[in-house]
């Protein structure tokens, strides 16, 4: 399936969830509501024409000052179809949570922990949601745009 056909298929299947789609130089992107992310991911994996069986990357973006503030970005790849698609799910600051997709692709486990660690986005249903890169006792989420550049952590004293 071409990138446009992939996006059409997602839009037809989830007409109320897909907010916007676009392709640019062969890269397909769909911006979706977070409520249906689990259903969308399951559909992308299980539909025989799409067959996105490989979750390549999961990350987040902080658009400070915009609403909704966060976007969780999923990069998917179909090994059998040699196709890629990017799904962006919008997450507001007030209720900073989204469904975990570990049940769809087990590879999402550590990616979701990383996003939780650095952005503070909670993944509901994650089997082991705790910090992965930073240590227990770290205060705040340093990749948020409003994390102070000179902020220092209490673990090793005021000089640091």
């Amino acid at each position: 399936m071409s990138p446009n056909a992939t996006l059409d298929k997602i839009s037809r299947q989830f007409p109320r969830s897909v907010i916007e789609t676009h392709t640019w130089r062969g890269d397909a992107t769909a911006i979706v509501r977070r409520e249906d992310i689990l259903a969308i991911c399951t559909f992308l994996r299980d539909d025989p024409e799409l067959a996105y069986n490989f979750m390549m990357d999961l990350t987040a973006v902080d658009y400070l000052g915009k609403a909704p503030r966060f976007e969780v970005v999923y990069h998917l790849y179909s090994l059998s179809k040699n196709q890629r698609v990017r799904i962006k799910a919008q997450v507001p600051e007030a209720d900073c949570a989204i469904d975990s997709i570990v049940s769809v692709w087990i590879a999402a486990d550590w990616f979701e922990r990383e996003v939780f660690d650095l952005y503070g986005i909670v993944f509901k249903g994650h089997p082991n949601l705790k910090r992965i890169l930073l240590y227990e006792g770290f205060e705040g989420h340093p990749l948020r745009k409003d994390y102070p550049v000179k902020q220092r952590q209490p673990l090793i004293g005021p000089l640091n």
Binding site: F138, P142, L155, I156, G157, L159, N160
Partner: protein
């Protein structure tokens, strides 16, 4: 070998006897027999390998025997960036070393944090443990490391027993 023929008491005894102070003799032997513990965490470790290899050869200074247990080492070489997460480990290693012990900050990250002025990096290991010699550079040239080692040897020569830092590192950490 500056110790020989320093004291007039040697003259009547001839060349077979060396008179010295016990402290000076021990320091002299210590400065040529560092047992170093390479706490290598980052890219500076490549330069540490270069300085340990045959071209620059730390062994010429008697410091070529890396010990991979801090309990057998007396020179802690902190080679690379130290993150907050790693800081308790560094302090634990330092506390486990036998006295007397010396610390070398190898590379600008260990000296001051380098350009990593961010949420994760220790701003110089001297905020955690006492440091004897600082070697800047990103990474330092092997010549700089050898220069630093010779500076440390000079320092050791002049040390008294009361000069060594004793006890655990001054910072308190859960580790």
């Amino acid at each position: 070998m500056g110790l020989i023929n320093t004291f007039s008491a040697e003259e009547p005894l001839g060349p077979n006897v060396v008179v010295t102070r016990l402290e000076a003799a021990i320091n002299w032997s210590r400065k040529y027999s560092f047992f170093l513990y390479p706490f290598a965490t980052a890219c500076c470790a490549m330069e540490f390998m270069a300085v340990g290899g045959p071209r620059y050869d730390l062994d010429r200074f008697g410091a070529a025997l890396p010990r991979f247990s801090p309990r057998q080492a007396d020179l802690l070489m902190v080679v690379g960036t130290i993150t907050h997460k790693q800081a308790p480990i560094l302090v634990k290693v330092y506390n486990q070393m036998t006295e007397p012990k010396w610390v070398m900050a190898f590379g600008v990250c260990a000296v001051s944090g380098g350009f990593y002025d961010n949420y994760a990096t220790v701003q110089g290991i001297d905020t955690l443990i006492p440091v004897d010699v600082y070697i800047p550079g990103c990474p330092p040239r092997p010549e700089m490391v050898l220069d630093g080692l010779m500076l440390l040897q000079e320092k050791v020569t002049q040390e008294k027993w009361s000069d060594w830092p004793k006890g655990p590192a001054p910072v308190k950490m859960k580790c």
